[in-house]
């Protein structure tokens, strides 16, 4: 009889864990994505005094003693439980995977902001020739089956320089 009770309690605990992990994943993921998007919007507004182009020439450059310099940034953002689940369902029917599209967008915008931040920290006020590319750190597409960890890895590089800005 006591054995039965112990088994019952253990199984209840296991069920609780099995239910709570997806719940934490779903709510935690939603909340962190919402907060990240808010912080992206705020920081993008703060950094709109920096000229950002992907031209190879130096638009509006002005002569200064500090020569131009390369800046880099990288961001790796993990998918959450809900996104992975939604993507798996999408994999059955096909079509646009919105959840991963948002994840990539977050990673790209974050990388661009980090490029701007790094340029600003070194005293520059413009960046040109912005390049954003994807990487695979051996977690996402490389891992088959159940252990796959979808993630968005973005590498960014740009050249920071001084520009005469009217803003």
């Amino acid at each position: 009889m006591e054995d039965g009770l112990a088994d019952f309690i253990i199984s209840i605990i296991f069920i609780c864990i099995a239910v709570s992990v997806p719940l934490i994943g779903i709510f935690g993921g939603r909340i962190s994505e919402y907060q990240h998007f808010r912080s992206l919007v705020r920081r993008e507004e703060e950094s709109n005094d920096v000229i950002v182009t992907q031209l190879k020439s130096f638009p509006a450059a002005n002569h200064s003693d500090q020569p131009p310099s390369i800046v880099y940034a990288e961001t790796v953002i993990a998918s959450d439980y809900l996104k992975t689940l939604l993507a798996k369902i999408r994999g059955i029917f096909g079509g646009e995977v919105r959840s991963f599209q948002k994840m990539q967008e977050r990673s790209r915008r974050e990388t661009l902001l980090r490029l701007i931040k790094s340029a600003r920290e070194q005293g520059y006020n413009a960046i040109c020739n912005v390049r954003l590319e994807t990487a695979d750190v051996g977690g996402g597409a490389m891992t088959p089956g159940k252990n796959a960890m979808p993630m968005a890895c973005i590498l960014g590089s740009a050249t920071a320089y001084h520009a005469s800005t009217s803003r």
């Binding site: 935690g28 961001t75 959450d80 750190v137 051996g138």
Partner: protein
């Protein structure tokens, strides 16, 4: 050493081309980072461990590239590009390459 990913450098003139310089590195992520990444894949968010890994690899690849440029007697590297490849599960290659050149400040603004 001036490093840019553009073909020219504003306010400078390229006087001599020394050739292609390159640097690469293959780095593995450790188990600790893998476990953290596994947990992060439940709630989502940034994988700081992997971001640091990429930053470190990039720094190392660029250092190797600059060492080559210095050997050639260059004072700038232009048109720097990066590529990555996933060699195996758990290890990523980062490759940096550019053109080593000698530049002089030009007088015309």
């Amino acid at each position: 050493m001036i490093v840019t990913n553009t073909e020219t450098i504003v306010g400078h003139e390229i006087t001599e081309i020394c050739g292609l310089v390159q640097g690469n590195t293959v780095r593995a992520k450790n188990i600790g980072r893998d476990i953290m990444a596994g947990l992060k894949n439940v709630v989502g968010g940034e994988l700081k461990g992997y971001t640091e890994l990429l930053t470190e690899s990039r720094r190392q690849a660029v250092e190797r590239m600059l060492a080559q440029a210095e050997e050639l007697g260059a004072n700038a590297v232009v048109n720097v590009r990066f590529t990555t490849s996933a060699v195996t599960q758990g290890a990523a290659e980062l490759y940096a390459y550019g053109t080593a050149v000698v530049v002089e400040p030009s007088n015309v603004g």
